[in-house]
């Protein structure tokens, strides 16, 4: 039987179904508390996340905050409203720039790392070795990593938001200096409130969850030797990039799509 044009989308759907099923199993192991049997491994993975990714994520958030601050200061000066530079940080950074940047950095640093690490374990029989020792490899390798991400990343994300805000303040108030600190913060706080930070964090965590699950899936199911692991890494990066945007779009629609939650424009 020859192949038809429907084969490609059918394969995509089959892969998405496999990923969904796998993700459900990994999350179920966390919710049922089985990942806690390997709490030491969970803490080890949390440590790896902190030591390996925190500085990178905070550094990138700081640079993006700085860039946004400079653009905001000059753009608002051009409009004759330099005091409104804080609006950029409060609105755009918190709601869009930082979640997306977090998603990209997680995809590139954590997601690909998971595929490479777990995939290498798969092709060198380490996963089979775990299984024959009577240890669920899915729980030990995937659920512990997901739990570690859920434990560590909210704090890392909120700290990244802080780094971005601080950088914007430096750019607008200290570097460009066309608005006073008080004037900057007046507008900055007017355009955000605690639920916005919560929603932004939920967006970031949803992206992180998807990225960890996709990374674990492609690593866990890797085959075909080192080339297969490389191919799986590339596939995971592509899918994660797409999913980061899907989650970002859904988050914006759900949290701010019907109510901008701002003193103007509503």
């Amino acid at each position: 039987m020859g192949s038809s044009w429907l084969d490609v989308p059918r394969d995509w759907m089959a892969s998405l179904g496999d990923i969904a099923k796998f993700s459900w199993r990994v999350m179920a192991e966390v919710f049922q508390g089985r990942a806690l049997h390997f709490f030491g491994e969970t803490l080890r993975q949390a440590g790896i996340l902190i030591l390996g990714s925190a500085i990178v994520i905070w550094g990138m958030a700081f640079i993006l905050g700085l860039t946004c601050g400079i653009e905001a200061a000059y753009f608002n000066r051009a409009l004759g409203a330099p005091a409104y530079a804080g609006f950029f940080s409060a609105w755009c950074e918190l709601r869009e720039v930082l979640p997306y940047a977090f998603g990209y950095m997680m995809s590139a640093k954590v997601g690909t790392g998971l595929v490479a690490e777990i995939g290498a374990m798969r092709i060198s029989d380490e996963i089979d070795a775990l299984e024959v020792m009577g240890i669920s490899s899915l729980t030990f390798l995937c659920s512990t990593r997901l739990l570690a991400a859920w434990i560590v990343l909210p704090f890392m994300y909120i700290a990244a938001v802080g780094a971005g805000f601080f950088a914007s303040y430096l750019a607008v108030v200290e570097q460009i200096g066309e608005v006073s600190s008080g004037g900057y913060f007046l507008i900055f706080w007017m355009f955000q409130n605690p639920p916005d930070l919560l929603y932004s964090t939920i967006k970031g965590m949803a992206m992180a969850t998807v990225i960890v699950l996709v990374g674990c899936y492609y690593g866990y199911t890797a085959g075909g030797g080192p080339v297969g692991v490389g191919t799986a890494t590339a596939k995971s990066m592509v899918l994660n990039t797409v999913l980061v945007h899907v989650v970002g779009m859904l988050g914006t629609q759900v949290f701010w799509g019907t109510n901008p939650r701002a003193p103007i424009g509503g």
């Binding site: 290498a120 060198s124 089979d128 024959v132 020792m133 009577g134």
Partner: protein, 331 residues
Amino acid sequence: MSDDQRDNEYIDEVEAETGADPVPEPVADGRSDDARAQEAAGRSGMTSEPADQIPANILDQTREGEHPYQWHEGVNREHGSTDAVEFIDVKKSFGRNTVLNGLNFGIPEGQISMIIGPSGTGKSVCIKHMVGLLYPDEGDVLVHGVSVPNMADDDLFEMRKKFGVLFQDGALFGSMNVFDNVAFPLRQHTDKGEEEIGEICNRRLREVGLAGALDKMPNELSGGMRKRAGFARALVLDPQIVLFDEPDSGLDPVRTALLCELIQEVHAENGGAYVVITHDIMSARRVADYLAVLWKGRIVESGPASELFNSPNQFVRQFLSGEARGPLGME
């Protein structure tokens, strides 16, 4: 000696044994595989299984005019013990490639068994069935009388604690040093304190000659050292059944001999059912109490090693003597 001379010698030898022509004239009459196989089966009298029931990839490994299972006598000699693991008519395919095609044999309790056979014939797949890493498409695998494919996940993980497995390359965890690799099963499955775990691990690592490599990471070890560390890890929980997947591959002859000695010593000390997969006939001669010869997904013959080394079966004789001429070719 020319190839023709060797061929003639082999043909004479088999004719004398069976009265049949083992390598008939090439058939170029356009008959189906089924017809050719049935004719060959009728000649050998060993099997009458029609070719259309035999997977294509196994027929492809068969010389023209021969039946794929012409040499499979189905003899399962008495080994004087109960079976720790039993394969009951196990069939397993990967896509169109059938690897196990009606495998029937048992691994005796308390003995060192060796599964030998040509490359790609299903030996490693066999091991993976024993520990439930693979499930048969048909048939059953019993460990101590309990069906592995029918176990719930929790029971399967519990059952696997009976096993120690040495993988081909050791399968050490790359993120842990040698000591932590060996200690890992103890830390996961026992309530022993670190001091006791340290004592057990040090003893096992001394046995395999790695007492000085406790802090080394797997990527700092040679292939032989990784195997030995994997061996220590496989033994650390005193398993009832130990599986070795080609422990001698990539080792020099002296290290292979030493590893075989080690397997015998540890078995003598701990007992249990040891299963070694190998191509190496010297290892089989040194270590095996029981031999199973696997080819084309089925057992050609199995039984006590001393009896198999004197088997009249042409395939078994060829394989155990490592001769180029015989039923096994490059197909």
